[in-house]
Symmetry: C2
Subunit: 339 residues, 2 copies
């Protein structure tokens, strides 16, 4: 690679960074609660990562409701990035699959909103140079399902509102999704529990005693997850048995699998041929695999980014993607874009 780039993916709940050499880092950061601190936090976060010639940025945090509009959100986040970059060149990735400099991104902010999936899809396309495939990236909050044909992403939607319609974006993930979004009025429609609790109880996500980034601020442990799930049933850790909360966890997983599988089939159905391969990414790779394994299983090979590149890159896959693309100076049509 010609230059060293640091990729930065600024979400509403997490900051993810990845160096083009593959060093990745993730920091929980509740942007909507701490928007004024973003510049400082980014600066400190970047300081812990290897040196780089260029900072490549993508974001989804502009959707946070601390911003009146996405336009305002993009501008405020770019302000924070500029201050953290401290003079280093900044490249901003956009939904047209190209990088722009800060001035150009500011002049027309909306294409900068929620473009991170396209960077990863561009990279994923290269792993599948011929024929049709799907990228399935399940993160803490959302799922991206992107059709790939002959080495290139061929999404039907570009913006998130469009992608929700095409099901290329499903607003469900393995940590932050509130259970009420999966259970509706049949359980407590409160922010009592999230999918983190489901996958803690099912043994898919590891306990983290010191992680308090949960629905009730109690730790990310199985015992506390049991209490949070019990509350969804209008019960508590005392009055609900572990069998009841495990049954609830299974039910939620089933609903989530159905949601994802339906979207995968819808997106795949427009490919013209059955996908030859599924490229799996994100902290929810395990769930993506279950969704396509069925029953019935979908044909086609499975390529796991966690297995091929390591789980820390898979979790920060969009940050990795913008780093690699910026280091190469290549846009989503395979054209050299700057340098």
């Amino acid at each position: 690679m010609a230059i060293n780039a640091l990729g930065l993916d600024i979400g509403g709940a997490n900051l993810k960074a990845c160096h083009s050499t593959g060093v990745a880092s993730l920091r929980p950061f509740a942007l909507w609660k701490n928007v004024d601190a973003l510049g400082c936090v980014l600066k400190e976060f970047l300081g812990q990562l290897p040196d780089h010639d260029v900072l490549a940025v993508t974001m989804t945090g502009e959707l946070c409701d601390c911003f009146e509009t996405k336009r305002e959100g993009v501008q405020r986040i770019l302000d924070a990035v500029e201050s953290a970059a401290a003079g280093r060149p900044v490249r901003v990735w956009r939904t047209d699959g190209r990088f722009r400099d800060l001035a150009a991104a500011r002049a027309d902010p909306l294409p900068t909103a929620a473009a991170n999936w396209l960077a990863l899809a561009t990279l994923a396309g290269r792993m599948l140079p011929v024929g049709a495939g799907l990228l399935i990236d399940i993160g803490s909050t959302t799922t991206d399902i992107i059709p790939l044909v002959n080495g290139l992403p061929v999404p039907r939607g570009r913006t998130d509102p469009e992608r929700l319609q095409t099901r290329e974006l499903v607003y469900t993930g393995v940590r932050r999704t509130p259970l009420c979004a999966l259970l509706g009025g049949l359980a407590a429609a409160e922010w009592f529990a999230t999918t983190l609790d489901v996958y803690l109880l099912l043994g898919d996500l590891a306990e983290e005693n010191r992680n308090l980034d949960t629905a009730d601020g109690r730790p990310a442990t199985v015992a506390a997850a049991h209490g949070r799930l019990a509350r969804m049933l209008c019960g508590d850790s005392e009055t609900c048995s572990r069998e009841e909360t495990c049954r609830l966890a299974q039910d939620v997983q089933d609903r989530q699998l159905r949601l994802i599988r339906d979207a995968v089939e819808q997106v795949a159905g427009l490919l013209g041929e059955p996908p030859r391969a599924f490229i799996l990414a994100g902290s929810g790779e395990f769930l993506a695999r279950r969704a396509i394994d069925g029953p019935p299983a979908l044909g086609g090979s499975r390529l796991s980014l966690a297995e091929s590149l390591g789980s820390s890159i898979s979790e920060s896959a969009c940050a990795y993607a913008v780093a690699v693309l910026a280091a190469e100076g290549v846009d989503s049509k395979g054209q050299m874009e700057f340098r």
Copy 2:
């Protein structure tokens, strides 16, 4: 009435009080954020209401996740009530349909959890002395659908977990329900908007410029509701048209009506005869009426508490019910209970 009673319904998001003479008051109070202040706030709240000989208490706030268990929640809320009562006698309403004094309620706290619906159902039963009917009480957060036969409530569930199963409790309401609980992964599964926004846009709830008790802390106005609904579509007030957000609002209302209508039919189906009357209560009476009016419309007369007793009593109907029952000293089986 022999004595003056003040009824108090302590929820997780609202405090409601009603004097047995019919003076009602509602105060938004986010219990889960301010649990230590409850005693003080209650004292000040009670000070603004007419004098009373007895304080009659019911609650649902014990489910808040600031409490480790409902047992703890009931105890903490009773502590606050005792301090606010300042020596006046306190009567605690329970899921067995009887009042107890503070000491007895403390000795066995769980029956005090979420009993408010039974007080209102006891009162509603009197309006329908013969035959079968349903009480439908739609509040800001939840919907109670209680079967009534020959003047008495005949619920199949007593606790909230049981009532969720029987559909006598549907966790959906006209203000606080997050839209993700109705839309699932098809829209943003975030706390971006609530049903308040839907009914503001549809013209069913009035604008309140100074009410900031909304998903994003911006006012309860039509313009801000438009922005909040737009964010559910991953858009914003600028990129989404009013037609798009109105369409979303209609869709949400349709889903909510379906949820409520299904539950009404399920509960009514076990009555043995078609309901002769529906007693409607709560700030969501308008929605209850739509749910039974269909199409197809369910037969039976409609009795609106807002029309018969006034909308402020209808909104605080459970507080009114415990006040009336305590003033009379009558329990849910029609027996005299104390004095």
